[in-house]
Structure formats: C-alpha cells, structure tokens
Symmetry: C2
Subunit: 189 residues, 2 copies
C-alpha cells in the first residue's frame, strides 16, 4: 500500500488558482480561491504575499507540465518538421476536450492587460520559450527564414487556441493544413 | 457656428463601457462606468437593465465602426486578394498604435468565458461576419477551398491581434507575408 500524501496548503492554493482562473478568469476573488483550497486567507497571505503572487506562482508551477504536454521529447528521432507538427497535433487534440478554453498563458495576458504584472511576466516567458523551440527546429530543418517561421508558428498557435477557446472554430482540418502550408513555404524538411 | 450637441447619458455610458472595458477588462465595476460617464447608477439601470446589457450594447454600437475601419468599401475595383490583404494592413497599422490591446471582440469572449453571455453573443456575431467577408472574397478570387481559406484568415487575424495586444509581436514583416502565403497556397487571384 502506498501512503497517500495530502497536498500541502501551498499546493492546494496553486491548484485552486490554476483551476479557477482558467475557468472563471483572473478576476476570481481571494475568498473563492481560499475556500476552494480549504486554506485561510491569513495562511494564503503568509504563503504568497498577494493574490498576484499566487497567480504568478500557479502559472510558473504549471509551466513544465504545459511544456511536457505540448512539446516532443528531445532527440526523438523525428524530423524538425514532424516535431513542430507534433505541437499542433496536441493543440488540435486539446481543443476537442469539453473544458478547453484556449491557452492559459495567452488568456491571462489578455485578461490582465498589464505587461508588468508578475503573472503576465511568467506567461510572457512561457510563450517566449515556445517561440525559441519553433526557432530552433526551424533552423535545424533548414527553413529559409527561421525567425519569420517561428513568429508565424507562434501566431498560428495563439490564433488557433484563442479561436477554439471561444468556440469560434473546432480546429479539425484547419490547424494542421495551416501549419503545413507555412512549413512548406519556408522549405522545411 | 455649429451647435455642439452634448452626448446623451446613454451615449456617454456606451462610450465609457467601450473605453474602460478595452483598457481594464470586463471586470470593470458599475461604479467606475457610471462615474466615467457622469451618469447615476439609477439612470444606468433604467437605460440598460444590467451591466451585462450595457456591455453588449456597447459592443454592438461599435460594430459598424469596427467593420468600416477594417473592411474595404464594396466594389472598390480591387481584386479579392487585395481586398483581403487590406484587412491585414489595417491590423498591422492598428498594432503600431500605443494603446492597442488586440481585437476587443476576441478579448471580451476570452475574458467572459461564457458563450451565452449577451456580450459574448454580440462579439461572436461580429467575428462571424468577418469570416463571411473572407469566405465571400475567397470564393470570388477562385480559392481552391474557400471555407478553409476563410477559417485560416480568421485564425491569422485573431492570432495576430492577440499577439500584438499582449506585446508578444509587433506584426511588422509577419502578418502580410503570412496572409500572402495562405492566399498563394489557395491559388487566390
């Protein structure tokens, strides 16, 4: 038998912040967050200083899982083109799930409307890392203009998750052909 | 001399809602909206029933100006391809202005996270009309798959305005080549 380890107040707050802000937005109140986590406000402020701090920590905490869900593992033997398409396959697949509301790292920046907010800064960095991945694969795949292709793929990624998140498009038959056309135009192997 | 017509309480509330939600988000309070409009809360509730109603009305009110800013005039003698590219030139140009925070009709849907909210429904319809424009031009320009091209252009439009709105990209040298590549791939004249 494995002993169950009960999540700490800190972990419960991070989980509540991630779940509730994704579902309801960054305007969710401290009361609601503490209630969902089963943690007193006093403890919350001791652990995170502010709601902004909790929000930023919760985005940071999720970043490695987010990357692991989207990106292929290193040196998987596939071509740079296939490795890039892997990311868009994941987006297409996530967009088909009932609770999908788009990319949380995009949404939080649109909602906060403040690039200097600690949570915006975490989110900005996570998205910048995705562009770095695209840029690196583009270069290895011999793209004619790796910088342009990386920006284009970031644009398709955000446009696709935003549109799927608001129910404007289901992405089937859209995201893969769009990414492929841009990869073709860049001469990607 | 032209007599100055003072905007009505209704007009001032619509203007305040448009300006403040674009800058601060849909979470802006009724107090702040009424204060900016110089209208009592009592009058606001008489005119719009609820903040949700005001928000929806403000988005609807702006829709024709939004369309006029983005879309080319009917029968301007340009090719469907040029008429589509006109839209993306406008987005590129808007993205260069200091207060640009992306497309308000996308942002409001991402923020509200509720497709049945009256403001989401207005925003959804405005974006659907843009897709109808793309679809119609795609067909007239002989696109191989007008439905796919219209969806792709909607995706590029939203991805570009979202990324510019959060400061992830300035769009120069990105949005026009991306739209052009997709138009080329569809065989658009």
């Amino acid at each position: 038998m494995t002993a169950e380890v009960k999540p700490s107040p800190r972990e419960r707050l991070l989980e509540a912040a991630a779940t509730l802000t994704y579902r309801d937005g960054v305007g969710i109140g401290v009361e609601a967050l503490c209630k969902a986590a089963g943690v007193s406000k006093r403890s919350m402020y001791q652990l995170f200083e502010s709601k902004d701090g909790l929000l930023a920590a919760s985005l940071k905490e999720r970043a490695s899982a987010y990357v692991a869900t989207l990106l292929p593992v290193a040196d998987d033997g596939r071509s740079p083109r296939e490795r890039i398409l892997h990311v868009f396959e994941q987006v297409e697949s996530q967009a088909g799930t009932p609770d999908f509301r788009g990319c949380r790292y995009l949404a939080v920046q649109i909602e906060l409307k403040d690039q200097s907010h600690p949570a915006s800064r975490v989110a900005h960095q996570v998205k910048a890392n995705l562009t770095v991945f695209f840029r690196s694969e583009a270069e290895q795949g011999g793209a004619s203009d790796p910088d342009l292709l990386a920006r284009q793929l970031g644009l398709v990624f955000d446009g696709a998750s935003a549109r799927a998140g608001i129910g404007a498009d289901k992405l089937m038959g859209l995201i893969m052909p769009t990414a492929s056309t841009l990869l073709d135009a860049a001469g990607m192997r």
